[in-house]
Amino acid sequence: MGVDQQSLLFRLIRELVRLPGIGQKTAQRLAFHLLKAEREEALRLAEAIQAVKEGVTFCRRCRNIAEGELCEFCLDPKRDQTKILVVEEPSTLYAIERSGGYRGLYHVLLGALSPLDGIGPADIHAQDLLDRLKEGETQEVIVATNPTIEGEATAIYLTKVMKPYGVRVSRIAYGIPVGMDIEYADEVTLIKSIEGRRDL
């Protein structure tokens, strides 16, 4: 039995289906869960969505998501102010932060250069990064864009435009993921991991 397409329930399912990773069946299950849940529980979700849309913006300095003018990382004086790690999207920043292995600052480009799609430097927040370098406190920029054509294009471009600022520019290493068998690695990853080997 299908849901009436004019009903309020169908409207909710239609909105849930728009979310990434949510198909028709999952949306239907979520909608029925919300229908059965306590009124307060369902409204809390609605209020959280509204609050996030109204209260969350981009950090003026690093373009990470923030609840004020600056994000939590830019406001933290304990972080290493001489290092900036550049990522394409905020989700990458939080993945790196979860690892606990980096204590410097970040810069989020909110995109990547793409010669295939004609996305150029003006379409990403590269100029904001250069403006930060002009302040003179930065000693090293770590480029952590994805190892895709777009990420590589961005890394090459940033390396070129940051050269005049005299800061150390490094790229995150390429290689075999931890726990993987080397025999299953593809050719490009193997070559890059040999090129990027380090002394023991």
Binding site: P20, G21, S114, P115, L116, D117, G118, G120, P121, A122, P147, T148, I149, E152, A153, I156, Y157, K160, P177, G179, M180, Y184, A185, D186, E187, V188, T189, I191
Partner: protein, 279 residues
């Protein structure tokens, strides 16, 4: 659920869903096709870098009933063209090559000639130190393999034959000269002077040298193509003509070949009436 196997070149790869990719290939046996690679963006994906653009690979996929997207099951790399990933100029030139193949081909319509031209074009980019000229020659050759071959031996508007040169100037006997020739992107080739002045769309000037270059680029055997050189006025005219023609054929302006140099600049060529031309 038939299994398909073919050598292929990756044209485009875009993110899809949580960790998947939709990849467009140009295959030797089946022409252009698109497939889904499940979990391709995960660190331990079996596809690795094989789905990146410009990779020459052996492709295995299967067709799902009532689904236009194939399921990619295995990709084995043959050539990766590593230099194309390390230089922005080469990357932009290779991007134009795959974008043009994607624009002028239909799904499921194989052409071994187009496949070989693309593979040869990517190889030439690695070996040649002039990516803009290599890309220009590639575009002329590729258009020459399709129904969009630029007309160079008669007027593309009125059909009048251009007089054959006397004596013949080329061992291939194809070069013909015409006074006041212009290139009409909408007509798909060279037009004679009276037709050029009457056409409502913008025509581009084409000197005798430029016309000769265009004719030779279309007719020379592929093995001799790297000997062709163009500088100064000839290069500027042919580049402008082909860029405008590609815009008409693709129905949209493709990302520029000199990607960063073109940043913020308006193209100096193109159609005056409308940026989008329907064919």
């Amino acid at each position: 659920m038939p299994l398909l196997k073919s050598t292929a070149i990756t044209l485009k790869s875009r993110k899809w869903g949580e960790a998947d990719r939709i990849v467009t290939f140009y295959t030797l046996r089946y022409g252009k096709l698109r497939g889904v690679a499940r979990g391709a963006r995960r660190i331990k994906s079996r596809f690795g870098s094989a789905l990146e653009p410009f990779v020459y690979c052996d492709l295995n996929l299967f067709e799902k009933h009532n689904d236009p997207l194939y399921r990619i099951t295995q990709v084995d790399i043959r050539e990766t063209f590593p230099q194309l990933r390390e230089d922005l100029a080469l990357m932009s030139a290779a991007a134009r090559m795959v974008n043009l193949v994607s624009a002028v081909t239909a799904e499921g319509d194989p052409s071994p000639g187009i496949f070989e031209t693309l593979a040869g074009g990517l190889r030439s980019l690695q070996d040649n130190n002039d990516p803009l000229l290599t890309t220009l020659l590639f575009q002329i050759r590729l258009l020459g393999q399709t129904g969009f071959r630029p007309v160079t031996d008669h007027c593309a508007a009125c059909g009048k034959e251009f007089p054959a040169p006397h004596p013949p100037l080329s061992p291939w006997g194809e070069r013909r000269e015409v006074r006041g020739a212009q290139f009409s992107p909408v007509s798909g080739g060279v037009v004679c002077s009276p037709c050029g002045s009457r056409r409502p769309d913008r025509c581009l000037p084409l000197s005798a040298g430029s016309l000769a270059f265009l004719q030779q680029a279309l007719h020379l055997p592929a093995s001799l193509l790297t000997r062709l050189r163009a500088t100064g006025q000839v290069r500027a005219e042919v580049e402008a003509a082909i860029e405008s023609y590609v815009t008409v054929v693709a129905g949209k302006r493709l990302p520029p070949v000199d990607f960063l140099a073109a940043e913020g600049k308006e193209p100096v060529y193109g159609l005056t009436r409308s940026p989008q031309v329907s064919l």
